[in-house]
Symmetry: C2
Subunit: 170 residues, 2 copies
């Protein structure tokens, strides 16, 4: 199972934007990235391919679209999948899984905090917090990166979760 790191933060803190910048930076370093978005309210995803949407609407439990370059899947679940279960089933072929959300799970967390949007961070005192990305100086006892310091953050993620021990030793 690949390592899982959660990008967390209060609503509108900038989680998606951070992921959008962190993914290409890690990809450029040669890693294959997976992402998981937590969606507590449910979603529609398959309108683009009308036919598969019609299959799902007709009552299919699992619907896939397969093309030469991509596979898409929509599957009903009885109970919400845990991150470990998702990673085991669908992410065996990536180097790291970055999640958007999942503050309740016990994965290492990187919080995005913007003092312009919220007064206090989400993860103060959370033992799983491993880094803070913020627009303001704040000591939560973990490394802190500026919002724009994507390279610094990627380096941290790489060193902590991606570099094999053999590479560290050299």
């Amino acid at each position: 199972m690949p390592p899982i790191v959660s990008i967390v933060g209060k609503s509108d803190a900038g989680k998606t934007t951070l992921l959008e910048r962190l993914v290409p930076e890690l990809k450029a370093r040669g890693y294959r990235i997976g992402t998981i978005k937590h969606n507590v309210h449910g979603f529609d995803i398959d309108h683009e391919d009308k036919d598969s949407w019609r299959h799902k609407q007709a009552g299919a439990h699992t619907v896939a679209i397969s093309s030469p370059k991509k596979v898409a899947l929509v599957k009903d679940v009885e109970t919400e999948e845990t991150l470990n279960s998702l990673a085991t089933k669908y992410f065996q072929d990536v180097d790291i899984v970055l999640t958007e959300g999942y503050k309740q799970e016990d994965k290492p967390k990187i919080e995005v905090f913007r003092s312009q949007v919220h007064e206090t961070p989400l993860c103060k005192g959370d033992e799983h917090l491993v880094a803070l990305v913020s627009d303001t100086s704040l000591d939560l006892g973990v490394p802190r990166f500026e919002l724009d310091d994507i390279r610094g953050l990627a380096g941290f993620v790489e060193q902590r979760f991606l570099v094999k021990s053999s590479q560290v030793i050299r």
Copy 2:
């Protein structure tokens, strides 16, 4: 691996419409259905959840959205997945997989043929053809069903691919 049956036919023969009617009929009989749509031209599927779409656009290899009732996944592939590979990876929890298309693979096939749209059927002489659904009397050496005879077709699929041997014996 669940049984796989392909609904095939020329373009605009009515494959999606047939699946749309067959899925609920089989579901009503207590089966859990999976479907696979063959898309040779590629597709976009994840516009509805803007955030996951942004992850994919940013270069993620695999993107999932997980909610309490549904999981959606978009994954890059190096080479196109076979039906067996898709069924093994993603359809272990359904009773049967119905595909739309995949006339090249060697799965049992049900052809939809409408004489109002095409002059000749697609699968004449195909050894994998197991049934014909058509608007005209035509003997291809396999059972034929009228376009509206969804119950008849579902009964055929059930008997041939879903009824366990123990149930047949009783």
